[in-house]
Amino acid sequence: MITDLLSTTVLIGILASGIRLATPYLYAAIGETFGQKSGVLNLGVEGQMLLGCFAAFYVAYTTGNLWLGLLAAMFVGALMGLAMAFVTVNLHAQQGISGIGFYLFGLGMSELLFQRLMGTVETVKGFPKIYIPGLSDIPGLGEIFFNQNILVYGAYLLVPLAWFVLNKTTLGLKIRAVGENPDAADSLGVNVARVRYFTIILGGTLSGIAGASLSIALLNVFQQNMTSGLGFIAVALVYFGGWKPVGVLGGALLFSMVNSLQLWIQVLGIPVPSDIAVMMPYVLTILVLVATVSRVRSPSALSKPFERES
């Protein structure tokens, strides 16, 4: 049965679902990259994703409109970002702790809303796969890369876009400066609070999309705590990726491929205890972080509240 893993069909299957599964990691981790680049550590990603997950599903389920669902997820994520920004930027809260608070809020709130508004697990018909004439027909590659839904493509387009914004625009310059030396940025007339508000809300919005990608594009259901730590892995991916969109992409692919592999191992009935298989991505998180620690320097002002003083 081990040999099953090596057959072309299975290999293509693993790679295709690996590409697909990277989607939520990418949205969430790119969003978190913006936040951390500006000096804000948001550990509430998981909570933002869960609420986005539910909002997208509920709206799509009740209205039958997937786009409205996606918008709802973005809105809820942005709102969570706004609250996070207020707490960390205006109130100078300790970022790690307040992030955990937002995670717990998202976890509890999504469960509560689910119980109140739905009660039972339902399914929706998620975003359909998009057929691209020519590309989708390429044997193998077409199945892996060009037979995906819109949110998957969006996630991969986000990577160069994020790189461009961070490195080639005045906004990106401000974000990087604020994350490294907010005092210097402030002295040059850069509005530190505004930049951080922007990145945190952007991060929340992208986390919302990450949640939506699970509930209305990949799995097409909503269950309690269905992100199961994915948001935390996304935070870890930012470190792994060295605060670079391309690095984040590499990390996201590594994790989604391992995840895909363990799913296929279970599907094929290969005699590995399922608990061990499910554990793989998490064990990998720890190993990878240990291996990459201190390889790249984090933004100097990361997780430090900014306050003008003498």
């Binding site: 080639k168 625009t169 005045t170 906004l171 990106g172 310059l173 401000k174 990087r176 400066a177 490294e180 030396n181 005092d183 210097a184 940025a185 402030d186 002295s187 040059l188 007339g189 850069v190 320097r297 100097s300 003008r308 003498s310």
Partner: protein, 523 residues
């Protein structure tokens, strides 16, 4: 100044005069600025002199828009202006070179200059054009700058030039220089003064903040002295002596040269043999340092900040891992011993960051005074603190070392810098050490406290203690040391007897120039 166009070389209009009137600023419990008047004109350097906490920085931060005054007004060319933020002051043509550079090390020079400015390409950056303009500006003032370098690659002096360019790029006609010489070698100070003179000639107005009298006398046209938030007076520099300025600053007569007295150097108490260690950044901190400090001697360690001073102090104090070589204390190899073991061998250490390493901020004065020996008799017995003895000890030291504190139960964080240093000094000296490592012992202290600390160190020297004095203040090194070692990039450039040491000679060594090469440089 007769230029009819009224333009600076940068193309910006001159600021003929700027006046601050009746500026008052209160912080909780402190009157930081008390109805202060100050003015500066095109084509002059106006020095602002005062001790720490005199209100120099507060006044300038108000001018730059970082603080808002409770009372008072600012007039530009005779017209009142409102400065609510740095953006406003920049738009008015006011630039500030901060004491701690406002640069982002991970960005290039061009990126640092462009930060916060609108780009000619809208949302996209226009770094190539910014770079071109930087080079143009740099040429006018004879500054050599490659805009594509990262700031972390630059020396402190170069970083300061970037700060100046940054201000000029933003069209600064009036420049506030907040203690710009504090981090420079004597040669770099000279270079800065050349640039400043050029700027003044071109019609800039410069405000020069300093507490170094000789620099003020050298560069300024007028000088204003502040003390305790109040203006003491303004005079043309040519009409006032250093001694007058010092008395104005402190409010009483000050002696200049501490009395060193004649002391016979005794046996070597502390020896370093080819010691190497790492730095916090993972790069080498010390690269084979050898020296000895004798009984009754102060060995001064000079150098520009970040050349291994911190590593040297921490290595000897047992706080940093020694990679190679030996540390020898009174003939015994103590390499790699713990701080506790070194304490037992009567090594005392006055750390550079007194708030971080010298005291525990949340502990009381009494507790801080026994930190080093809290496990020993009479302060504790079998793990139980002897609170009565600790209190008695604290009261004695507070009196003996003139610590100004409401009580021995006051938390260290509520004391002034000078008094915190007295607490540290009391703790480290009272135990009659054999060797003292004093790292930047007077940094940030006012003249009074500085005098006190120096006098105590000299007293220890007379008692035959071997003292290593690490300081970035060259005047201090020259005033106290018997011999002077210069650290550069983790190596000892040279060790010079005090009689042969001049600021010029040390400055070259601090810049990494060997004395043989000096001959050709200095002529």
């Amino acid at each position: 100044m007769t230029d009819p166009t009224n333009k600076l070389p940068s193309g910006r209009t001159r600021i003929d005069s700027l006046e601050m009137r009746g500026i008052t600023k209160r912080f909780p419990g402190v009157l930081a600025s008390d109805h202060v008047d100050f003015d500066v004109q095109s084509g002059e350097v106006h020095a602002l002199l005062g001790e720490n906490g005199a209100g120099k920085s507060t006044l300038m931060k108000i001018l730059y828009g970082l603080y808002h005054p409770d009372e008072g007004e600012v007039l530009l060319n005779g017209k009142p202006v409102s400065i609510a933020s740095p953006n406003d002051s920049i738009n008015l043509g006011i630039g500030m070179i901060h004491q701690h550079f406002m640069l982002v090390p991970s960005l290039t020079i061009a990126e640092n200059v462009a930060l916060g400015l609108p780009s000619s390409r809208g949302l996209l950056t226009d770094l190539d054009q910014v770079s071109k303009r930087i080079v143009e500006l740099a040429d006018i003032y004879g500054l050599r700058i490659d805009p594509s370098l990262y700031v972390w690659q630059l020396s402190v002096g170069q970083q300061q030039r970037v700060e100046i360019i940054k201000a000029l790029y933003r069209g600064a006609a009036l420049l506030i220089l907040d203690e710009p010489t504090a981090v420079l070698t004597p040669q770099e100070v000279d270079e800065l003064f050349v640039i400043m003179r050029q700027m003044v000639k071109d019609g800039h107005a410069l405000i020069f903040i300093s507490h170094k009298l000789h620099e003020v006398v050298e560069i300024s046209n007028r000088v204003t002295v502040l003390r305790d938030g109040r203006k003491i007076g303004t005079r043309p520099t040519s009409e006032i002596t250093k001694q007058d300025l010092a008395n104005w600053m402190v409010g009483r007569e000050v002696g200049f040269a501490p009395d060193r007295g004649n002391v016979e150097c005794g046996e070597a108490r502390l020896e370093l043999k080819n010691v190497s260690c790492g730095s916090d950044r993972g790069t080498p901190g010390l690269r084979g340092v050898s020296m000895e400090v004798c009984s009754g001697e102060i060995l001064g360690i000079a150098g520009v900040s970040g050349n291994g001073q911190r590593e040297l102090a921490e290595t000897i104090a047992g706080l940093r891992k020694v990679i190679g070589g030996q540390v020898i204390l009174e003939g015994k190899d103590v390499t790699g011993l713990s701080p506790a073991a070194l304490t037992d061998r009567m090594l005392s250490y006055i750390p550079e960051e007194r708030m971080r390493d010298g005291v525990i901020k949340e502990f009381t004065v009494a507790e801080n005074m026994i930190l080093r020996e809290h496990e020993k008799m009479p302060y504790s017995r079998m793990g139980f603190l002897n609170l009565g003895e600790i209190s008695r000890h604290a009261d004695e030291l507070i009196k003996k070392f003139q610590v100004k504190t409401p009580s021995r139960e006051t938390h260290a964080k509520n004391l002034s810098g000078g008094n915190i240093q007295k607490v540290v000094l009391a703790r480290e000296i009272y135990r009659t050490p054999r060797v003292i490592i004093a790292a930047q012992p007077t940094r940030g202290l006012d003249i009074g406290a500085t005098e006190y600390v120096r006098e105590r160190l000299l007293e220890q020297r007379r008692n035959g203690v071997a003292i290593m004095l690490i300081s970035e203040d060259l005047d201090e090194i020259l005033a106290l040391s018997d011999r002077i070692a210069v650290l550069y990039e983790g190596r000892i450039m040279d060790i010079v007897p005090r009689e042969q040491a001049t600021p010029q000679k040390l400055g070259l060594l601090m810049a990494g120039v060997h004395l043989e090469e000096n001959a050709s440089v200095v002529k």
